[in-house]
């Protein structure tokens, strides 16, 4: 395979705080090919946003300690000077956020803000930039762009504002678009429009996309590959099909069991994950998921699992200390409708005590 557009290796982002060290990202590794969509899923506090902020050079706080490497299109992003970073940010990599209202300046016309985004990276006459702004608004499906280009952000609805944000992100035809919870603030029919728009523009412009979300449905529909994050680490990563058809990590099983599904038969039960996610300051020893894991073994409290390829998994990797065979049997048992305790009893009892 050709050189990936983005390669993140062993990225660690730790923040020193009064209460202790917050390990927001603790050894993240992933790759993204050109034109592909990577979905990063996780709950609040899983560290799903921090790696992308670091790629963008947005987590360079005084108390941040960053190590590892981030190579984007042949450049090491972590060693770029601020000025070089500015040339990449908003140009080759663009980002859209959850709340479009707070990402737009309330005092400036939308057209002027788009022109500014273009001028930040290209020295073109104002007329040409304005033409481009109109073209962008048209491309993201804003009706009457000639009139809307003179409007202020408050005159737009939530969905329209997110379209403006996307237009701004695409102003310089980035190679990578990072979308951090892009539709969380929107209604479901508007969310469908925005996801459709991102999908269409990705195909037209051939850009790669990282979509960060808590919604498994969104990654199922959008992503080619998925990384599941828990407590600052990637616990499972692989092609979307595989993550849903043959997930290997007990946390992923827990997430899939927790969501009410529109297409589930009536009366089906949810299987929540007990407890709650750990604080990033005070991570449990061994496997971070062990206090909530129904299949925990004594040694899981001591040993930290590494993200390792699943046998025959074609890009599927998991950080779990259970054997692959055991995991497969547990998942089959859950698939047949067993609750975690039953699955544990039927599968793990057959193994040696420390299986």
């Amino acid at each position: 395979m050709s050189e990936p557009l983005l390669r993140v290796q062993d990225l660690r982002v730790h923040f020193d705080t009064e209460d202790g060290v917050v390990k927001a990202a603790d050894g993240l590794s992933y790759e993204l090919q050109r034109g592909q969509v990577l979905g990063i899923v996780g709950e609040s506090g899983s560290g799903k946003s921090v790696s992308s902020l670091t790629i963008m050079g947005l987590s360079r706080a005084e108390n941040a300690r960053i190590s590892g490497s981030v190579v984007f299109d042949g450049r090491d992003m972590l060693s770029l000077a601020a000025e070089q970073m500015r040339a990449v940010r908003g140009n080759e990599i663009a980002m859209i956020f959850q709340d479009p209202l707070s990402s737009l300046h309330p005092f400036y016309r939308v057209g002027d803000q788009l022109v500014e985004a273009i001028h930040a990276h290209h020295d073109v006459p104002r007329g040409a930039a304005l033409d481009r702004a109109l073209e962008l608004l048209e491309m993201v499906g804003i009706p009457e762009p000639k009139r809307r280009v003179r409007a202020y952000p408050h005159e737009f609805s939530g969905g329209m504002r997110q379209r403006v944000m996307i237009a701004m992100a695409l102003a310089n035809e980035p190679k990578l678009l990072i979308a951090d919870e892009p539709t969380t603030a929107l209604d479901v029919t508007v969310q469908a429009q925005i996801l459709d728009l991102i999908r269409r523009l990705k195909d037209e412009l051939g850009m790669a996309v990282i979509i960060i979300t808590h919604d498994l449905g969104i990654v199922a529909e959008m992503a080619d590959e998925i990384a599941v994050m828990y407590a600052g680490r990637i616990v499972e990563r692989g092609p979307t099909e595989r993550i849903f058809a043959a997930p290997e990590h007990p946390y992923t099983w827990g997430l899939l069991g927790s969501i009410p599904r529109l297409d589930a038969p009536a009366g089906s039960e949810l299987v929540p994950i007990p407890g709650r996610p750990p604080s990033l300051i005070d991570l449990p020893g061994g496997c971070s998921f062990h206090p909530r894991c129904p299949y925990v073994q004594p040694r899981h409290r001591e040993q930290q699992p590494l993200l390792e390829p699943v046998p025959g998994g074609r890009g599927h990797a998991v950080a779990c200390l259970l054997e692959h065979e055991t995991r497969a049997r547990l998942w089959r048992s859950l698939q047949r409708g067993a609750v975690p305790e039953q699955a544990r009893a039927s599968v793990l009892a057959e193994d040696a005590p420390d299986g």
């Binding site: 469908a192 969104i218 199922a220 099909e241 849903f244 599904r261 529109l262 589930a264 709650r276």
Partner: protein, 338 residues
């Protein structure tokens, strides 16, 4: 005992829009709820689903008499409570309780959890002995899955999911007949959401509660509810059993809403037919005439849907829909069977 616990008829709520500080001229109204009628049967979970501005939360607040309706009537347990007041209203409040969306802002940060949960007892002068009240509170905490020893702690010491459990304990403290839950899990993480949904289901089973469950998330509503009302811009556009709605949605808006929900299954997601609506929900200050959905509806017929308002009427399959051109079985937004 009548079959229906709540009977809502022709309920209307308009919030006036005014201009000017001194004279406050009335320049219009937000048509939050515009002629809504429905029943809540004893022991069922009724879902109200819809997008921002559809009037679902206003409807809930009107039912509980937290807002006064512009017109229409609300019947509760066989009695017209539309204009109940004073001692009568206070007695009614014992029978109907609410669970709110945001477990952070719905709990007083300066009150211990024990006194938050005991407040309904204080208001209604129940369990007056200190020891007795504490026992009742601890029993409730146990019932909703909180550690009873934590009754002296303050809300900030609890996580979002635990705070929502506190809200649930407070709501069930007086053994109400009706609980209205307004987006009770939308502020919570996925793994915690499931815990609260399971708790609500278990409590309903154990206490024989009637629940009105309001949410924008169709998958959550389908999971929780026996029947579902779909609202759009202050009107009910469809009313059907949960299964019926999911398998045979009749109103094009319900169909679009169903097809907009992302499915956590790549194969099912790829196989289904999508119906992406254009535009945003229009403003409730100036809703479109006749059928309010006609501006976004893929089936709208000019000269009919923009002139003649469709009424909520029976449709094949047993549900009610307000549409001149309802979806047929084969035209429904197909969600493949699992």
């Amino acid at each position: 005992m009548a079959e229906n616990l709540v009977e809502v008829r022709d309920l209307v709520k308009h919030f006036p829009l005014t201009q000017g500080v001194v004279l406050r001229r009335r320049i219009g109204a937000v048509h939050a709820v515009d002629g809504v009628s429905f029943d809540v049967r004893r022991g069922e979970t009724l879902g109200i689903v819809g997008e921002t501005g559809c009037g679902k939360s206003t409807t809930a607040r009107l039912m509980l008499r937290l807002l006064d309706p512009t017109s229409g009537t609300i019947g509760f347990d066989g009695e017209d409570i539309t204009s109940a007041a004073g001692a009568r209203m206070k007695a009614l409040r014992r029978e109907m309780q609410m669970i709110f969306q945001d477990p952070y802002s719905s709990l007083n940060p300066r009150q211990s959890v024990g006194s938050i949960i005991a407040e309904p007892f204080a208001i209604h002068r129940l369990h007056s002995g200190e020891g007795e009240r504490r026992r009742a509170v601890q029993e409730l905490m146990e019932q909703v899955g909180l550690n009873p020893e934590h009754f002296n702690r303050y809300p900030h010491e609890f996580s979002g999911g635990q705070r929502q459990r506190i809200g649930v304990a407070r709501a069930i403290a007086l053994r109400p007949k009706l609980i209205v839950a307004d987006e009770p899990v939308s502020a919570l993480d996925v793994s915690i959401q499931a815990q609260i949904l399971n708790l609500l289901r278990a409590l309903q089973r154990d206490l024989g509660l009637t629940i009105v469950f309001i949410a924008h998330d169709l998958s959550v509503v389908r999971h929780m509810c026996d029947r579902i009302l779909v609202m759009y811009l202050g009107k009910i556009v469809e009313s059907a059993s949960s299964d019926e709605l999911y398998h045979h949605a009749r109103h094009p808006y319900s169909g679009a809403l169903l097809s907009a929900v992302p499915l956590a299954d790549p194969r099912a997601a790829a196989a289904r037919r999508r119906q992406i609506l254009s535009g945003d929900v229009p403003s409730p200050t100036d809703p479109p005439p006749a059928c309010r959905f006609h501006t976004r509806c893929p089936r709208a017929v000019t000269g009919r849907c923009d002139v003649d308002e469709p009424l909520l009427g029976p449709k094949p399959g047993g549900g009610l829909a307000a549409c001149h051109f309802p979806l047929e079985d084969d035209a429904r937004t197909a969600l493949p069977a699992r």
